[in-house]
Each structure stands twice: as C-alpha cells, then as structure tokens.
Symmetry: none
C-alpha cells in the first residue's frame, strides 16, 4: 500500500536487517527456553529464514548466544548514565527517578531478558557474566552509589554504607524483572502491578534512608 521498497523481493529487502532479526529471534528463544533447550531451527523459523542462514552470520550456537547478550547489553547501556548526569533535583527524587526509569526503559527492552539469561545460564558462560557485570551491573551500581554518596554528603540521607545500600536498591528491581519474565507468564506471580510494587518499595526505602530530623 505504502512504501515502494516493500515491493522489493524479500531477499534483498532484508539483507541489511538480517543480523538484527536473527539476534532478536534468538534472544526471544534463549530467554523463553534457556540456552540448551533452544533449537537453532526454531530461532531460524522465528526469524523467517532457514537453518543454514544462521551460519552465514554466526559461527555456531555459542557465538550466537554471546552476540545476543553483548548486542543487547551494548544497545541499552549508556542511556541511564546520560539521564543521571543532567538531573538537578534532590537525591531522593533522583533515586526514585533512576529506579523508575530503569524499570520502564529496561522492561520495555530485551536487556531484561538478558538479565534472566545471565542468572540462569551464567555458570556455563563465565566470560559473558564478567562482561555483563562490568558493562551493566558495575555501571548501574556506580550510578546509584553516586547518588547515595551525594545524599549522604548533603545530610539528606543517613550515613549508610553506599555499596551495600546500592545492592539493596538494585535487588528488588532485578527480582521484579525475573518475576515478570519467569513466573508471571506461567502463574501470575507476583500478582501486583510492577509500578505499585516499585512505588511501595522506593517509598518505604526512602523513608528508611531519610536522615532523622534533629
């Protein structure tokens, strides 16, 4: 109806987009079934190509998996860092904004599935876990730790250990991602709305973090 390039034959039209299509299909399958249980034939089918085509772009299953993880990670990281750099409100507000935005931007994004993959399959791909830790966990943690330090320095927060508190703040968000990817599709667990969960968690924690009024 609309664009003339849609009349190009499938073969040509997709040439450039192929790798991305393959990676997207592969990510879906890996997240849904796990690494070992994912059949390359299914990945190919979901990408609308034949088995052999996968091997034109990726050496083998393991390399495809690594590419999926790396690609998803690289494509996402960086955004949050930019957001944090320009923020001007109080530390509490920044913390809330960061966690909320993290959720919104990551759950709408394949990287949420990558987190599940890393937790579920990490044992068999230590290099990937290392990469994921450095590129995602460490950078995300640094962001939050920085806000905590700023809030403590300004007297807005109690003098907690920023490193530990960073973990405490990250854990529920990650868990929410896992729940969303794992239990909810199967069993409606947890049955709460993600935003309600996050709001309750953040509000409670921020109260707990608040420096006592003298």
């Amino acid at each position: 109806m609309q664009a003339p390039q849609d009349t190009k034959p499938r073969w040509e039209r997709r040439k450039d987009a192929r790798p991305q299509e393959l990676l997207a299909a592969a990510l879906d399958q890996f997240v849904e079934r796990g690494y070992a249980a994912t059949r390359l034939e299914d990945v190919a089918k979901h990408a609308g190509v034949s088995k052999g085509t996968l091997y034109l772009y990726f050496t083998n299953k393991e390399e495809l998996f690594k590419a999926v993880v790396r690609e998803s990670i690289v494509a996402t990281i960086g955004q949050a860092e930019q957001d944090a750099a320009v923020f001007e409100g109080s530390s509490s507000e920044l913390l809330r904004a960061l966690l909320m935005r993290w959720w919104d931007q990551i759950c709408a994004t394949p990287i949420a599935g990558v987190t599940k993959l890393m937790l579920a399959e990490g044992h068999n791909f230590p290099e990937l876990v290392k990469f994921h830790n450095e590129e995602v966990v460490a950078r995300g943690s640094a962001l939050i730790t920085g806000v905590l330090q700023r809030g403590i320095a300004s007297g807005e927060f109690r003098p907690v250990d920023p490193a530990v508190m960073t973990q405490v703040l990250i854990a529920p968000v990650m868990m929410l991602m896992m729940w969303t990817r794992s239990f909810m599709p199967a069993c409606q667990m947890p049955p709460v709305d993600p935003h309600v969960f996050l709001d309750t968690f953040i509000s409670t924690t921020l109260v707990g973090l608040e420096a006592p009024k003298p």
Copy 2:
C-alpha cells in the same frame, strides 16, 4: 492387588526406597547446569550409581526433576510456619527473625538452588511453578503478610498494603539467593557479605515501615 499405597502418585509411591543421594546429586547438577544441559549420566556418576539405576527410581528425566523440586520444597516449608506461630516479640522483631532465619536455613542448604531452578526453568514446567507457588511462595508470603497485618493493626507499622509489602520484603532475599548461586561463583558479585546485605535491607525497611511518631 497388593498394597494400598500403589494408588499414590508414582513419585511418592517409591519414596521409601528412593535414595536421597540421587536427588541430592540431581539437584546439584540441575542447579549448576540447568535442566536441559544436565546429563543423567553425570547425575548417576555423582551419586555413585549407574545410569540404569536412576530409572529404577524415576520414570524419566522430567520426573526426576519434578521430584527434586518437590522433595526440596516439601522438606523446607513447614519449619518457618512453626517458628512464626510461637513467636512473641514485636512485629518488627518477628519480621527480622523470619527473614534472617529463612536466609540461614535455606541458603545454608542446596535447597536454595530450587529457587534458581524455578526462575530459570519455570517456563518449561508450569505445573511445577504452580506447585512451587502454592507450597512455597504462597505459604511463605502468608506468613509475612500475617506479621505485617498484625503490626499494622497494633499501630506498630504504617498502614501499607500488606500484599505488596510482602513482595517487597521477599524480593531482596530471593535476589540474594540468585546472586549467590549465579554470579558469585563466576565473578565475585555482589561483593557484600550476605548478612550485612540482609541487615542493611531489613533495618532500612523497618525504619520505613515504622508508624510515624505523633
């Protein structure tokens, strides 16, 4: 013809004869490698028996997996309920005690791996997820929800939504289990001591839960 226990479901029928070693070895392998990547030959080797022997006790790989999960779950859940029933201190103290004991009794044990299995493999075993939710998540949640309700009723806690707050309280402990099982062996992440993490998390949250002094 013979014994009335023959009418029990298969996985339970053989319970008496079923060596715990098989289940322990299977749990180890499933947690370490994931369901699909676990080879029954390895399970047998780790249990010190032959491959064929596994089939004397379990119909097939899937039933073995289910037995592992069920067995671990059933063995754990009753204890916490008893503990909670007889506790007499404040709701805050009970909450702290419950979460700490949960950690100590589950993470000191290979059973914690079941949580990882459920999150990682749940998609392929919906019945197990359902079972796990009913026998573990629901009962554990009810315990915590009860304490919250008691604290709110007594004016010790703010009037939060007990169901949501229950999730908020559970998530960090589960995440800690995942981290311990997944990232730490590979990459020393998170580098904090579990008890410090839990103490920080619980203390902060309890302050946040505390009803404001009038």
Copy 3:
C-alpha cells in the same frame, strides 16, 4: 536452433569460454584434499571467482572433477607418442629417454596429481578410471611395449613378456609420483632425489633386460 556445436557434450561445449584458472584451482584442491573433502567455495576462492561462477562453467561438482581429469589427461598424452615415433637410437636409449621425459614433463606439472586422484578416488568414478586407462595407461603402455618388442626383435633385449615388463617399468615411475605428492610434503619420504631414483631404477632394469652376451 543455433549452432551445431551445441550437440557436443556439455563439458566440451563450453570449452572456449571456460577459464583454465578454474580447472587449475580445482586440480590443486582435489589433489590436496581429495574429492569429497574439497569445497567448491575453496576452489572458487583460489580461482578468484565467486562460488556461483563455477556453475556457469560446470554443471556440478562431479562434472568439474571429470573435466579436471579429462583436461589434464588430454593435454599430456600426445606429446610422448610424437617423441617416440621419431626416435632413432637404441631401444635402451629410447626406453630411458621415454621414462625420463615422462617424469620430467608430468612431474614438473600439477597434472601428475591426476594419477594420485585416479588411484585415490577411482573407486567412486569408474567411468573416469576407464577413460584414464584408455587415454593414458593404454597409450602410454603401448608406447613402452612397442619399444620392448622392437628391442626383443632386434636381439637387444632378452625375450621377456612385453606386457608384463611394461607394467614393471611403469610402476616405479608412478610410485615416485605418488610419493612426491603424498609422503614427501608431509614427511620427507623418500629422501632420495627423483632423478637419482629414476637413474638407478632404469640402469638396473636395463642391465637386467640386456640380452646375455653369447
């Protein structure tokens, strides 16, 4: 409809346009790796063309192989016959000249590899073996048998069976080709210089052939 040369067999019809580079590259690969292990992509790469181009000149892998063999064979055999026809010296000298020239003209050339191919792969290509026997083995043998018959008739040689003695004379030269193509690249075997080998072999055999002095 068009040209009478369309009635020629396919492998010959395209002879004019068929780049010798394709055949040369294919010969190299077939000799080095064997028929089955040779990948058409490698042949194409060595010839500096794309995979598809091969199919413009050869129906399929098997036809390419046959063309390689036929082309090499046809290019070689006529020369020796001409040489022999005009020779004027003694039978001994002719024999030595023929064998030496065979060696020099064939072993200095990749065409020698065809012999290896025939011995190694002949089982799977009986028509080719037949062709090779008729066009190379039979004609070459006839040449040598003729010289033997002439020498026996003139009293220069003992009255041996010319057919058998022909085989005896051919075998070491073929073996030398095989050694050169197979063992020497891998393992320096045999460590003797080809010309020394041939000279020793021919000299010894000619003494053995010599009619006893009365």
Copy 4:
C-alpha cells in the same frame, strides 16, 4: 550346531569382539570410499551395530580413522622382521623371498588398504603419515637395505647405493598394492597376475643387481 556360546544373545556374545569388528568395518569403508566420503552410519551398518555404538568405542570419526590405521599397522609389522632374521640362503634368494612374502602376507592383510589410505589421505593426517613411515616404511626399508648391504659386502651384488636401491625395490610392490586396491576392481588394470608381475620384476632386477662376472 556347534558351540553353545553361539546361543548367547548377540549383545553379550559380541562384547569383547566389538572394537575389532568396528575397526574391520571401518577399514573396509575408508579404503573403499576414502575418509571424507565414508559415512559413519555405513560403518556401523557393516559392523552390524547402530550409529551410537561407534561412539562408545571411538571419540569421533577422526579417532576412528587413526585407530584403524594404527591397529592395522601394529597388527602386521614385526612378522617380516622375524622372517628375515632367521634366513640363511644367498642375498638374492633372501631378497626374492622377502618381497614375495611381503606381497603374500600384506595383500592378504588389511594393511594393504592402509597403504592406499596413507597415500590418498596422508595430506590431511600428517601425524599418521609420520607414524606409518616410522613403523612400516622405515622398518621395511631397513630390512631390505640390510640384505642389499650384505650382498654388496659379499660381492654378490654390484656396489649400488643401498638406500636408493631399497626404494627401487619397494616401489613396484607398493604400486601393485595400489593397483590391486584401486584400478583392478574397476577396470582390470593391470591385467597381469600379481605373481607374474612380481616374478618378472624381481628376476629382472636381480640380474641387474648381479655383480659382473670377472
């Protein structure tokens, strides 16, 4: 009819013999089709077992191939050395006996096929070529060289270079093996009887070797 152990089930009866049966079937197929063109399923079928059984005994195709070569070589070598050690006749007679016996014992034996394999596939298995050279070619050559040296020392033979003459003596026998394995099944080439060929070759060469009567 005869032995009671024939009533044992196939499964048990063959347990010990399995590896040898597999190696024999594999040798047949490798010699007939070449390494790359041999399908393991065919090897299995010829051995009367299933595909999977091969992998109980050999890690993969390459290891099976290597085992075939090594086994055949080891099983054969040594016999000729014993024969030579006890021989007492003239050097000419010993030489004739060695070559004839070599032919008779090797052509009745799978090692003849191994020679073809080494010549045809050696390029892709350099370690095997090295092994074959050391265990078969070198030891066989040493045997013949020794006889030549003895004959030269005793004045029975002309003072030829023993190393080169050894190659000259070996080549026709190897070629005969190749012919027998490659061309004869397909095309009756060479059409001479092996013993006539050998006799003609040996007789002629021995005359050529003979020291001239003074």
